[in-house]
């Protein structure tokens, strides 16, 4: 980030603009970029999922709006913008309207913590990872708000299930992340990425010493994102639509898109923690100069896409878990396994001195 900052200040100095202006705008520009990029990425993600699901189930997927249906989600978003926002009569109106607004804040903060390339992290703190896991659990609060304020039994059930699920699956994630911290000796995501770089390319990535952790992390991510087979909070056939049953129009769109925002963020996190983030799988980069940054971003996005593809594939294949088993899986299998994983990683670190 410093490199970009100096480039920017130099560029401003050339045009005789005071540095104080640069200091202020330098933090505005990334926020704008991240917001726009996030929106585009989420829209693309929704389309991607629909297309993939279509292909998995022998359909064509959206193919009418734009070339190959590329503008479908944009059209859907426009439609939702134009629709009436209905607030149920007995709902808590303030909280009901507040929930979709605040659900987007953590999604944006979380994406700012991801190192997209060696010089492209919007918020680079020493304890990036810790902030990530704290902020990433925030959406559940707005889900609780949404479920409670809707004054609908189905919404309430959805919210209740969601809270139970997040509580159960947060702990294994914390232990897995701890083992990554042990391996990298750092809580900074850029440092973690750099700790995975080696001449051997992808053999140095953390998914090899921490394979058990990867599996735990992946399952827990599915559960935290309410993705199939853990989609109990919005189980369509039981709870109609879960916590967003009563929402309509743009508020529904915000709730819906924030889910995809978290999906993107979590897939990025897995790519960073286990698959070397922006590192190339061949050891060295294929390009030189400024192009390296583009290449790094591309590697990260390719890895993220593969993880998202896997998530969609699972959604197309598996039925939903039953609720008691869901909690049992977490407390009696994943939590012990994640602790075992931590011990294993410590031993590997001690012996190998990775």
């Amino acid at each position: 980030m410093n490199y970009l900052y100096f480039l920017y200040i130099e560029f401003l100095a050339k045009h005789n603009i005071p540095q104080i202006f640069g200091d202020i705008t330098f933090y505005v520009i990334p926020c704008t970029i991240i917001f726009i990029a996030l929106l585009i990425a989420i829209l693309a993600l929704v389309l991607l999922e629909r297309k993939l699901l279509g292909w998995f189930t022998q359909r064509k997927g959206p193919n009418r709006v734009g070339l190959w249906g590329l503008l479908q989600t944009l059209a859907d978003a426009l439609k939702l913008l134009c629709k009436e926002n209905i607030t149920p009569n007995n709902a808590d109106k303030f909280l009901f309207n507040l929930a979709p607004v605040i659900i987007f804040i953590p999604v944006m903060i979380v994406l700012g913590l991801i190192p997209f390339s060696s010089e492209f992290t919007f918020m680079n703190f020493q304890t990036n990872l810790l902030i990530y896991i704290i902020v990433a659990t925030m959406p559940v609060l707005s889900i609780l708000l949404a479920g409670w304020a809707s004054n609908n039994k189905y919404s309430l059930f959805g919210a209740m299930r969601n809270i139970a699920q997040i509580l159960a699956y947060e702990l294994p994630i914390a232990f897995t992340i701890l083992s990554i911290t042990v391996l990298a000796s750092s809580m900074n995501l850029t440092q973690i990425t750099l700790a995975q770089s080696s001449k051997l390319g992808l053999l140095g990535w953390f998914f090899i010493p921490c394979f058990l952790g990867l599996i735990i992390m992946f399952i827990c991510t599915l559960a935290e994102l309410n993705r199939c087979p853990f989609d109990l909070p919005e189980a369509e056939s039981e709870l109609v639509c879960g916590y967003n049953t009563e929402y309509s129009g743009m508020r529904f769109a915000l709730l819906y898109l924030s889910e995809y925002g978290m999906l993107l963020a979590n897939a990025l996190l897995i790519a960073v923690l286990f698959f070397g983030g922006y590192l190339s799988p061949f050891g060295g980069y294929l390009t030189t100069g400024f192009w390296i940054y583009i290449e790094q971003v591309s590697w990260l996005l390719i890895k993220t896409f593969l993880i998202i593809f896997l998530i969609v594939w699972i959604r197309a294949t598996l039925p939903r878990m039953s609720s008691p088993n869901l909690l049992k899986l977490s407390w009696s299998i994943l939590l012990p396994a994640s602790i075992i994983n931590l011990f294993l990683v410590v031993i590997i670190k001690y012996i190998g001195g990775v």
């Binding site: 189930t57 039994k153 109990l232 878990m321 039953s322 609720s323």
Partner: protein, 361 residues
């Protein structure tokens, strides 16, 4: 803990129509369940008292839109029995062929819809793809996809054709069934959701009068096809399973599809050899049944279906009573869902294969 009353339906994604379950919940545990039906009541029995027999025939297809052949066969059979009409063997074979194809399509839809209830979306599209082939075939033969109205008193509307298509469809389905087995049957999550869930013991099943696949999955050998004169020349084995849980009901339907494929093949063998069609059609205008009461029954996909006609020698029946399988399955939910988790309740209710037009008549 405070009790919560939840109206599951009549407009709800998992109730397959307009079933309303009034649940009393404690947390997500069900304390009591009361099914409320009648949102689709069309008064089919009352209508029968005002319509002549030929006017009533197209209507009975609507009793169960997924198994329309069975109900029109049932009415035809009762009238034929009353008037003493004997069917030619080829007509019997054609009827068996179409009934079994209809059974396959009904079970296929159930498999897809049930997996949809459990949260797996893909199998629905796969089974609909195979069902679509059968519906297209029905359209080719009878002119209609679902409300076929092909059986008439004393025969069928016209001779069957497209036998090669049927053979092709049966071969495809036999292959695709293996695909379903691969993706669904041994899936650990599916096993978790269905094994030992919603067990219907022999006594509960008999006491609740559920019939058909649901009862055979509990281990009771009640298959009306063995007494059926249509099936007299056909070799098949009825599927009897043991425990009567949701998984058994699923497996029984899969096996029944395979068995139905075999029956269709036998009828195809016969039909390909014979040509010409000898029918005993009667003048449909002014059919009058002799005085007395007539009863007949058939093994429909959703259990025993029967019709009871009391005639006084008029153009219209004096009283006509339908018995449908789903109605009793709905009433069994009252017992079956108690102390289950809401999440399992959907899986259990779905496994009984309830079709609401059949319940409401």
């Amino acid at each position: 803990m405070k009790k919560l009353k939840l109206n599951l339906g009549p407009q709800h994604p998992s109730t397959h129509g307009v079933l309303r379950l009034i649940l009393e919940l404690e947390g997500e545990k069900i304390l009591s369940c009361e099914p409320d039906v009648g949102y689709l009541h069309r008064g089919l029995e009352k209508m029968a008292e005002r319509l002549s027999y030929i006017q009533y025939l197209p209507l009975v297809d609507r009793i169960d839109y997924l198994a329309s052949f069975f109900y029109s066969e049932l009415l035809c059979r009762t009238v034929e029995k009353a008037l003493g009409i004997e069917l030619d063997k080829k007509v019997c074979m054609i009827r068996v062929l179409l009934l079994e194809l209809n059974r396959i399509s009904s079970h296929l839809l159930w498999i897809g819809a049930y997996l949809m209830d459990l949260g797996a979306t893909s199998p629905f599209f796969y089974t609909m793809r195979e069902r679509e082939m059968i519906l297209k075939l029905f359209e080719k033969i009878t002119g209609q996809r679902m409300m076929n109205n092909y059986f008439v008193y004393g025969g069928v509307r016209h001779d069957i054709f497209a036998l090669d298509d049927i053979e092709c469809i049966i071969n495809t389905i036999e292959k695709k069934i293996l695909d379903y087995e691969n993706i669904i049957t041994e899936n650990p999550i599916f096993l978790q959701r269905t094994k030992n869930k919603g067990i219907i013991s022999k006594e509960t099943g008999l006491n609740g009068s559920i019939t058909g696949v649901n009862l055979r999955a509990s281990g009771i050998n009640l298959d009306l096809r063995k007494n059926d004169y249509l099936y007299s020349d056909i070799n098949y084995k009825s599927i009897i399973l043991e425990t009567g849980d949701s998984w058994d009901r699923y497996k029984a339907r899969i096996l029944e599809i395979i068995e139905s494929c075999k029956i269709v093949k036998q009828t195809l063998d016969y039909l390909q050899k014979t040509s010409g069609l000898k029918q005993n059609l009667i003048n449909p205008i002014g059919i009058k049944l002799p005085e007395g009461s007539f009863y007949s029954e058939i093994e429909a996909p959703r259990g025993l279906a029967s019709v009871y006609i009391k005639s006084t020698g008029e153009k219209t029946p004096y009283r006509l009573k339908w018995r449908t399988g789903s109605y009793y399955a709905v009433n069994l939910l009252r017992k079956l869902l108690i102390n289950e988790h809401l999440n399992d309740a959907i899986a259990i209710a779905g496994s009984l294969d309830i079709i609401l037009p059949e319940v409401d008549k």
